[in-house]
């Protein structure tokens, strides 16, 4: 399937070029580059909100970016059923917009984490359908505020609606305390919205797909969407 795409850049985004390369190589077509002050998105199938430190993480990570002019059209894109992947700071922005439920707090051990981690699929959706249930993906993380939080009721809704896409695990797929590197609630590494067309995840699949990367597992997420 052919997949058209766009990447939004905010002041302080630093993974927008990586996201663009990830999309262009794997979809084999050009990606639209969008500035946060633009007000209209091109008609695309997939939008990536990239990682970085939008607006210097002032106030809360993603809080300022969530009020950028382009966001109205991001909401319309989601409402139309268009796909969105928010990676790292993109995930934080999506929770601040309200497209994804919950919030991302300071890592429990107060350390900026920049390392490879393992994640596995939990509930199946279009972002992970090419990943088998017992497969562990090795994907890098690089964040300071990645500890997923939701209220008890919020968490129950995520579970009931099967919105929990990815969990942190160890190399064998066990969800141990030590594999939950940032202290996320129930090991949550990535969730979708109720309609399952919007995914937010802390690990960076766009840093794990080329030959020179230490892992190529990140391509499975985009390949799942490509069908």
């Amino acid at each position: 399937m052919s997949l058209s795409s766009a990447v939004i850049t905010f002041p302080g985004s630093n993974c927008d070029r990586d996201a663009q390369t990830y999309l262009e190589i794997l979809t084999n077509q050009d990606t639209h580059k969008i500035w946060h002050k633009d007000v209209l998105l091109p008609k695309v199938d997939l939008l990536i909100i990239p990682g970085g430190f939008s607006f210097g993480d002032y106030l809360r990570s993603g809080a300022m970016a969530a009020k950028s002019p382009i966001i109205d059209d991001v909401l319309k894109h989601a409402e139309r059923g268009g796909y969105i992947i928010g990676i790292c700071n993109g995930f934080q922005i999506l929770t601040e917009i309200g497209l994804l439920d919950g919030a991302l707090n300071r890592n429990v051990k107060l350390k900026f984490l920049a390392k490879n981690c393992f994640i596995k699929k939990n509930h199946e959706n279009n972002f992970n359908k090419k990943i088998s249930q017992d497969q562990c993906l090795s994907i890098p993380v690089a964040h300071n505020e990645g500890s997923y939080y939701n209220s008890e009721e919020g968490l129950k809704l995520l579970q009931d609606n099967e919105q929990i896409s990815f969990l942190y695990c160890d190399e064998e797929g066990n969800t141990t305390d030590s594999s939950n590197l940032n202290g996320s609630l129930n090991h949550i590494a990535g969730i979708t919205n109720k309609k399952k067309n919007v995914l937010g995840l802390m690990p960076h699949p766009e840093r794990a797909f080329q030959d020179f990367h230490t892992s190529q597992d990140g391509q499975l997420i985009l390949e799942s969407l490509l069908g």
Binding site: L59, R60, A63, K67, T95, E96, G102, A103, N105, R106, N107, V108, K109, L110, Y149, N150, S151, G154, G183
Partner: protein, 76 residues
Amino acid sequence: MRAKILIRLKKQILEPQGKNIEESLNNLGFDKCSNIRQGKLIELDLPENLEDRDSYIKDICNKLLVNSIIEEYEVL
């Protein structure tokens, strides 16, 4: 008129910065400090004659300053 808004993480949410401050204070010998939580204070000027000051502050908190999933606030 100066408005002061104190924002903090809700009680049930772990606040790791406070825990670390507590540890450091304890290391310095201040072992009577416990249950430390760090919040943030935002100050801003509002016109003296603003009629609906309370609802105005409530609005800016709800729309930007506070994430009600994890935070609560009080106007000092």
